[in-house]
């Protein structure tokens, strides 16, 4: 089109191969990243029947596990573990707190079941007065660095409860509060019976 009287345009060259390779790697990397993010967003919750990675809960003083000031999931192999996420600012948590405590009372003596309260994004003074209000006696500790909640559910809301069997396999997920003691027991008892 335009006449170029003096300027000789550069010789026509395509994109060098190494640039092409870089571009495609970058593009596919980005798409891979999005795909991974999307998968995580689509399945935010840990799947039932998958093995739970190990984690440690530091415990509030007065709410220790057999006098230990922190408890590791792997130490609890052979026991059914109920992990309950709660917070003092969460209203629905209050509806299940008493039921959880009663359920705990029913298992405490035999020692085959461990309840772990994990206090999610909460402040200690408020958490303590909550636990006192509901006479909670099972081990409780803060979700330090929100690490534990991120293992179970990327978009955790409270309350949520995860029940893990003797082999460390996740067996049951409860989103929202339990409605009764019987409801909790109906999940745990079959696991104790080895089913």
């Amino acid at each position: 089109m335009t006449q170029e009287p003096t300027n000789v345009a550069a010789p026509k060259r395509g994109v060098p191969l190494w640039v092409q390779i870089l571009v495609w790697i970058g593009l596919l990397g980005l798409l891979g990243l999005l795909a991974a993010g999307l998968l995580k967003a689509k399945n935010p919750i840990m799947a039932v029947r998958s093995s739970v990675p190990d984690f440690t809960v530091p415990l509030f003083s007065g709410y220790e596990y057999n006098t230990a000031s922190e408890v590791k999931l792997s130490e609890l192999k052979g026991k059914v573990v109920l992990v309950n996420f709660w917070a003092s600012w969460c209203q629905p948590c209050r509806t299940e707190a008493a039921d959880l405590e009663s359920a705990w009372q029913s298992y405490a003596e035999k020692g085959q079941v461990v309840f772990l309260g994990v206090d999610y994004v909460d402040t200690e003074p408020e958490a303590r007065s909550y636990m006192t209000d509901f006479n909670i006696s099972y081990p409780n500790g803060p979700d330090m660095g929100t690490r534990i909640s991120q293992i179970f559910n990327r978009n955790l809301g409270v309350p949520e409860t995860y029940i893990i069997d003797q082999e460390g396999i996740l067996r049951f997920i409860q989103i929202g509060p339990f409605q009764s003691v019987a409801e909790i027991q109906s999940v745990i008892d079959p696991l104790l019976a080895g089913r």
């Binding site: 089109m1 335009t2 170029e4 300027n7 345009a9 550069a10 026509k12 060259r13 395509g14 994109v15 092409q20 571009v23 593009l27 798409l31 990243l33 999005l34 795909a35 991974a36 993010g37 999307l38 995580k40 967003a41 689509k42 660095g145 929100t146 690490r147 991120q150 293992i151 990327r154 978009n155």
Partner: protein, 714 residues
């Protein structure tokens, strides 16, 4: 029945869009005009069809068909009529419908034009727009159906489905949930459509670019054809962003307008590439350079439009603005992948055909400075993109979430924006081609003299903050350069205007003067505001007259001017915003930035639409002088978030912005207040009004007579 009709229409349109893609491609390869013509007619037919579909949805919204999930979730009985209409884009499903509708409207407008000389581009323009349209329609039909109904299954569950699940009974609620109260603000009513207009309009230049790549046309025809589309897209996107800022300022009660939230950034990113594109296409038009770069920019802009929509709607990111999670993520992902990979592959394939016709001569030429401008915009883009994407990477690699917040963006982008301001001053003085530092220096020294005085004056006035000193100096520099350019244009011009134009201008000036005089009389205490506005208006009319000679050039300068005026507001907020919070008993004071606010009373009362308003009365003093009352309040809707409406005293120099802190305990005896002092913020809004004016100047069609000169220059 109507719901089925609506969905049926969408399904039909979807098929039609797919058909038009097929017909267009077939027409191109078989070189059959008949097929292309068929594709064009199919494309044109989608618009009336979607319009009927949208009208159906609006009818259902307005008449309160709460048996539809979407209608239920965004409207309620007591909502006013206009809000029921705007509820069309109050939720995910409806806003996707709006997207499709706009896409179809723009695509139709483009296919309607005369194509004689560009016939070969037509099939691919149709194909690209139709594919995009089909994609958004598919989202509406398969994933986010706005016509889904409520059903009660035999198990007692309530589900939303298009067709009755086995044994289910229809459920008809008597009232809906109503629009999220935060979205009932006027800013929020027009903010989304503006953004969508901007997003969708950018699809048009992209479609032309793709058509040029496929057909192998290496000239700049595609850029010339879409010049106005690009400008329109860019302006709507900009306005969408500004309206969003205004909404945040008025409704969210943060005392600010921009929080570097991922969703905001998602809308900003296509703006960045779009702005870079707007500048660099000029180089291609004038000098035939950077063809490859322009292609890349428009591809990036399109990809970022889709990517931004994906980010905010797929649940990948969580944010205050994010739509609730939905199933559209995977489909979006596939679409982004396919379009991005295809367009980049096409560009690489055509790379060697897009070599420049002229080579760069000088580092000081205008094209070199434009390239520098592009580099800076890309820098801001990288910062934004990286900040948004990094938490995702961190979560995937370490399993831990991190926050990348405002300090990161401000620190990284601040210098880049500063450099952009400086360029905005220098570039208009440079020339195309062989500009040297000597010629540039010769053009620069005049506006530099008053610029040098600015920091000295500011320092004498007590400004010590170096960000403010540098920032305001740059702002002044751009203003002086722009005024200097207008002055030169004025000196050279022999303004020849028609009698008619002359009378219109005189009438307009008289009207404006009367209007502002009336304003000053009504509110004599604030006479300065109307006075300054009046001067500004005169100035604008004068500039309008001048700009007729070369609308694109002078419109562009006006847009520059509006940008630096906005920068004044942004600098004021960034550097000088102060805030304080205190719980007051009646009669107590709170002090900030020389103002004293006394808490007088608190009242709580219901409003007609069911919300309960809690409103405090504060009297404002400065230096012992009473300035007026402020009424910070918050509204509690029957269900939904409370809306905090700040009490604001606005002047040209500052805003006094008081929030009744509803997240602490509020009672008549003890009320917590958070007061912000926002210096210069109003220049941000004034700048955005000037921006609209600049756009009108740049895009207003010029009559042949007026345009004698402009044609040669534009």
């Amino acid at each position: 029945m109507l719901a089925q009709l609506g969905l049926g229409i969408f399904a039909l349109t979807f098929l039609l869009a797919l058909f038009s893609v097929g017909a267009a491609v077939a027409g191109y390869f078989s070189k059959s005009d008949r097929w292309v013509e068929t594709a064009r007619l199919a494309m044109l037919l989608t618009f009336p069809l979607i319009t009927v579909g949208v009208a159906t949805l609006i009818y259902l919204l307005v008449t309160g068909h709460y048996e539809l999930q979407y209608v239920y979730s965004v409207t309620s009985n007591e909502m006013p009529f206009y809000l029921k209409i705007t509820a069309l884009w109050g939720g995910q499903a409806g806003s996707l419908v709006l997207w499709s509708w706009l896409m179809s409207a723009f695509a139709s407008a483009v296919t309607l034009r005369k194509w004689e000389r560009d016939r070969e581009l037509l099939p691919w323009v149709i194909a690209v727009t139709s594919v995009t349209l089909a994609f958004f329609l598919a989202l509406s039909i398969f994933y986010e159906n706005p016509f889904a109904r409520w059903w009660q299954t035999s198990g007692g569950d309530i589900v939303a489905r298009m067709f009755a699940p086995a044994g289910a009974l229809p459920l008809i609620p008597s009232d809906g949930q109503g629009l999220n109260p935060l979205l009932r603000h006027p800013g929020m009513i027009i903010h989304p459509p503006m953004l969508y207009l901007g997003f969708v309009a950018f699809v048009i230049p992209f479609a032309f670019a793709m058509a040029a790549l496929v057909t192998g046309r290496s000239d700049d025809r595609w850029i010339r054809l879409t010049r106005r589309w690009t400008l329109v897209a860019w302006v709507f996107l900009s306005l969408g962003l500004v309206l969003g800022m205004r909404w945040a300022y008025d409704v969210l009660g943060w005392g600010g307008y921009w929080a570097w939230d991922p969703v905001e950034i998602a809308a900003l990113m296509p703006w960045l590439t779009g702005t870079a594109f707007l500048h660099s296409v000029m180089i291609q038009e004038k000098r035939g350079m950077f063809k490859q770069w322009n292609m890349l920019l428009i591809i990036l802009t399109y990809a970022l439009v889709i990517f931004g929509t994906f980010l905010t709607r797929s649940g990948v990111l969580s944010s205050v603005h994010a739509f609730s999670e939905s199933a559209i993520g995977p489909m979006f992902f596939v679409f982004i992948g396919v379009t991005f990979v295809t367009s980049v592959a096409l560009l690489i394939y055509r790379w060697k055909d897009l070599k420049a016709e002229v080579e760069m001569h000088s580092l000081f030429s205008r094209e070199a400075l434009f390239l520098l401008n592009n580099l800076l915009f890309m820098g801001v883009l990288i910062v934004c993109f990286w900040g948004v994407i990094f938490p995702l990477i961190s979560e995937l690699v370490t399993g831990q979430k991190v926050t990348v917040g405002p300090p990161f963006y401000i620190r990284a982008n601040g210098p880049l924006f500063g450099a952009l301001l400086a360029l905005m001053g220098i570039a208009p003085l440079s020339a195309w081609g062989r500009s040297t530092y000597k010629t540039l220096g010769r053009a620069l020294w005049k506006p530099s003299i008053p610029t040098v005085i600015v920091p000295i004056v500011l320092a004498i006035l007590g400004v010590r903050n170096w960000v403010a000193l540098v920032g305001f100096t740059l702002v002044a520099f751009v203003i002086f350069v722009t005024l200097y350019e207008f002055w030169r244009a004025f000196r050279k011009s022999n303004l020849e205007i028609t009698k008619r134009t002359q009378w219109i201008v005189i009438a307009l000036l008289i009207l404006v003067t009367i209007g502002f005089a009336a304003w000053a009389l009504i509110d004599p205490a604030n006479w300065l505001t109307p006075f300054v506005s009046m001067i500004l208006t005169y100035f604008m009319v004068a500039i309008w007259m001048l700009a007729r000679r070369n609308p694109r050039r002078y419109g562009g300068y006006l847009i520059h001017l509006s940008m630096v005026v906005m920068a004044i507001g942004i600098l004021g907020m960034q550097v000088y915003q102060t805030t304080t919070q205190k719980t007051l008993a009646v009669g107590q004071n709170i002090q900030l930035a020389g103002y004293t606010l006394r808490y007088d009373s608190l009242a709580q009362f219901p409003y007609t639409d069911g919300r309960i308003v809690t409103r405090a009365v504060m009297s404002v003093y400065r230096g012992g002088q009473y300035l007026g009352n402020l009424y910070p309040r918050y509204d509690n809707y029957p269900d939904g978030q409370p809306v905090t409406i700040a009490g604001v005293r606005s002047t040209l120099s500052d805003d006094l912005y008081v929030v009744l802190v509803n997240w602490e305990n509020v009672s008549e005896a003890q009320a917590p207040f958070k007061v912000y002092h926002n210096p210069l913020i109003n220049w941000l809004w004034i700048g955005s009004l000037m921006f609209i004016f600049g756009f009108l100047v740049a895009a207003w069609p010029v009559s042949e007579k007026e345009n004698d000169e402009g044609k040669n220059e534009s």
